[in-house]
């Protein structure tokens, strides 16, 4: 199976029913991989957060508590499925599906090895950007249809936040596109003899921060802010539907980690080990950083989140784009260290300038 996955697409397509076989193998592979890795990553997150907090984390079910997530899945599947009587039932039903599907689709354009991917779209990155926005629709539907004030507030926050952070996210991707000269993810990975994080540190920073907001992770986890909105948009969900949302969240985290690894960390590239292992390691690393941030930082307030997106990340992303374009046009032969340094110093200067205007706290609104 694994060998089949790693075969170049050209060989596979020569097999009988090659096209359908390819789709079947990769479709099954992605879903299996995603679902199992969600289980493992949930376990990983809980263990890791535990260690950050000087705890053990789950350690009773199975070796090292590995079966804890399995037990949770069984528990959650056997829970009663409750629908609030005044909920908009159709939307309530559809929301989890709409939220979950695009996340799986995004993985279709990510290569696990050279050419080993479901569909090597030449507009791969555009596909990712386009499809990822659909998730927020599902979240909004869930929050709106639940007929709950907390989830409504959460839904409103979702829309505001996700729309705002799409901008810097896409603009930071454009920097990579300019460097690669292609929209295909496979080409991007292949272009990274030096990982783009070194060439585009500012771009990485913007992408990573914005993706934290996209996947609702600390410090931008406003829509499920448990201390304010109790559980956010999924407050009225239970049973399998809740599980789907839970799954969506973790899949999003994994997908965004994968994209980060692909765009900035060199994807499957790496010496000695097989490419797929490299990719998995990099995904794991990014995920650990996300967990680390979650274990440390408090969350921002909604207006601060918006300010951060529009007044900090967006200008920075535009500046980054400008600088990258200029350097590609006027100094295409620049050595890697020079362009990396220029990018980094731009980031530093921008943060320094911005911090001059940083005012803690907030203002009351006259009522």
């Amino acid at each position: 199976m694994v060998e089949l996955l790693l075969l170049p697409a050209s060989i596979r397509s020569e097999l009988p029913f090659g096209y359908w076989l390819h789709l079947l193998i990769f479709g099954l592979g992605i879903i299996t991989l995603l679902l199992t890795s969600v289980i493992i990553f949930i376990w990983l997150e809980r263990r890791l957060v535990g260690r950050f907090q000087l705890r053990h984390g789950p350690n009773r079910a199975g070796p090292f508590g590995l079966l804890q997530s399995v037990a949770d899945v069984i528990k959650i599947l056997t829970k009663e499925d409750i629908i609030p009587s005044r909920a908009d039932k159709l939307v309530f039903w559809m929301a989890p599906v709409i939220a979950f599907t695009p996340v799986v689709l995004m993985l279709g354009v990510v290569p696990v090895a050279d050419g080993a991917l479901l569909a090597d779209l030449n507009i791969g990155i555009l596909f990712v950007v386009a499809i990822s926005s659909v998730t927020s629709l599902g979240v909004f539907m869930a929050g709106w249809s639940s007929y709950n004030k907390y989830s409504l507030l959460s839904a409103m926050r979702t829309v505001a936040q996700l729309v705002s952070y799409e901008m810097p996210l896409i603009l930071s991707m454009v920097g990579v596109v300019i460097l690669t000269g292609s929209l295909s993810l496979n080409e991007m990975v292949k272009a990274q003899s030096i990982p783009f994080i070194l060439l585009q540190p500012a771009g990485f920073f913007i992408f990573f921060t914005a993706s934290l907001a996209e996947i609702n992770r600390t410090p931008f986890d406003l829509l499920e802010a448990d201390s304010e909105l109790v559980a956010g948009y999924n407050i009225e969900y239970s049973g399998m539907k809740f599980a789907t949302f839970y799954l969506t969240e973790y899949c999003e985290a994994i997908v965004l980690s994968t994209l980060t690894a692909t765009l900035f960390l060199g994807g499957w590239q790496g010496p000695w080990l097989p490419p797929m292992i490299w990719l998995l390691l990099k995904i794991g690393l990014v995920f650990c950083v996300i967990v680390w941030i979650r274990a440390t930082l408090p969350r921002l307030r909604i207006d601060q989140v918006m300010n951060f997106a529009w007044k900090f990340l967006l200008p920075l992303a535009i500046l980054n784009l400008l600088l990258t374009s200029l350097s590609v046009i006027f100094w295409p032969t620049a050595p890697a260290w020079a362009s990396g340094l220029i990018n980094l110093s731009m980031l530093a200067v921008f943060i320094l300038v911005y911090s001059k205007f940083f005012k803690p706290g907030g203002k009351t609104v006259a009522v």
Binding site: V49, F52, Q53, L54, R55, K149, Y150, L152, L153, M156, T218, P219, D221, L222, A225, D226, S227, E228, V230, R294, A295, T296, L297, P298, R299, L300, R301, I302, D303, Q304, F358, P360, G361, G362, T364, V365, A366, V367
Partner: protein, 367 residues
């Protein structure tokens, strides 16, 4: 074009992760902004003041534990001091020192919990809370050593304390005192200067000096507003006049100052405990008083600096073996007076941390 809007009634509590018990706020929100708020009390009302009238002075002792259940020692102390003042009971010197040690340890516990849950309200995923809880557990172990209980200690008695310190206590306490300053430094470095914390809590929920005094605020809330008013200093009770310590005060009266005042008070409490341990005399710890003694008719108001503010017991005796009336000046309750003024105009997320920074205990609010 004017958008037709409508204010939203949001019911925070009584079952909500951030209301620290069963407090309830009926908030009127305009989007995220709170335009009006009405605190609703009474979900934990047990009529303790009425119960006192049907119990002997001694039988009421365990009930004082249940006022502010994270500061049983302080409640015990305030009550026994009031009754001792009423009946003219003398307390052995050793018992006075033990009481001070216990009261200050209890203050550390309560402040650690206050700070930890303040950060939780702000959105950190339990990390500071767990760091503080580990230290809190160590103090709880110390308490368990002296009185056998871990939450509701019922340790103090009229005329002293119920048990003498076991021989293991002082070495264990010294060990704790040695490691605690480094721990406090750790908490501070973890989040005290964190930009997000500053952004969330500085200049948020400002309680001006005039308003704090006018609203009868007490304890850290009052001191954060810049009023140098600590009962331990201005009206030294027990043996507090023998110790050298500072009264930390804030300047702005915002959430950040309230949090920092508590942290500084941890250090001061450690200071007091260290001095008390060094000066701990030998001798008996209890001047026995009859179980159903009859204080002379009269009334007395006795107060201590509880961890949430001035904790006073107004005990009125008619010369019988049961108190005629006991009124508790509950700092948690009275500190909530200014809540409405502090919240209006702030966003929902601010409301949570402003409420958290006041640090109430519902057992004491509703009594």
């Amino acid at each position: 074009m004017a958008v037709k809007t409508e204010p939203l009634f949001l019911n925070l509590g009584p079952v909500h992760p951030s209301t620290h018990g069963v407090f309830r706020m009926r908030a009127l929100v305009d989007g995220e902004v709170i335009t009006d708020i009405e605190p609703v009390f009474g979900y934990l009302h047990r009529g303790i003041e009425k119960l006192a009238e049907s119990k002997s002075y001694r039988q009421f002792l365990p009930l004082t534990d249940r006022l502010d259940y994270v500061s049983s020692m302080n409640n015990n102390m305030a009550y026994v001091m009031a009754v001792e003042k009423l009946a003219g009971i003398e307390v052995p010197q050793r018992a006075e020192y033990i009481r001070v040690i216990m009261a200050e340890l209890q203050r550390i516990i309560a402040h650690l919990l206050a700070i930890g849950s303040f950060f939780n309200d702000m959105g950190t995923f339990f990390t500071p809370f767990f760091y503080m809880f580990i230290q809190k557990e160590k103090i709880t172990d110390l308490f368990e050593m002296v009185c056998g209980q871990r939450l509701l200690y019922n340790y103090m008695r009229f005329g002293g304390v119920s048990h003498d310190l076991p021989p293991e206590f002082i070495p264990a306490l010294t060990r704790f005192l040695d490691e605690m300053p480094a721990e406090i430094k750790k908490y501070e470095r973890l989040l005290a200067e964190n930009e997000i914390v500053l952004a969330r809590s500085k200049n948020v929920g400002v309680l001006t000096r005039e308003m704090a005094v006018n609203a009868s605020a007490a304890g850290p809330v009052l001191r954060a507003s810049g009023v140098d008013w600590d009962i331990r200093k201005v009206d030294p009770y027990s043996i507090y006049d023998r110790f050298d310590f500072d009264v930390p005060t804030g300047a702005n009266g915002d959430c950040y100052d309230r949090y920092r005042v508590r942290v500084e008070e941890l250090t001061q409490s450690l200071n007091i405990i260290r001095q008390a341990v060094n000066g701990l005399p030998k001798g008996k710890v209890l001047n026995p008083v009859p179980l159903r003694f009859r204080p002379p008719a009269g009334e007395v108001y006795s107060h201590i600096e509880g961890n949430k503010g001035e904790l006073g017991f107004h005990v009125i005796s008619d010369g019988s073996d049961k108190p005629y009336r006991i009124h508790v000046r509950a700092p948690s309750f009275i500190n909530l007076t200014a809540l409405k003024n502090m919240l209006i105009g702030w966003k929902l997320a601010d409301a949570i941390i402003i409420f958290g920074s006041i640090d109430i205990c519902l057992g004491e609010v509703d009594r």
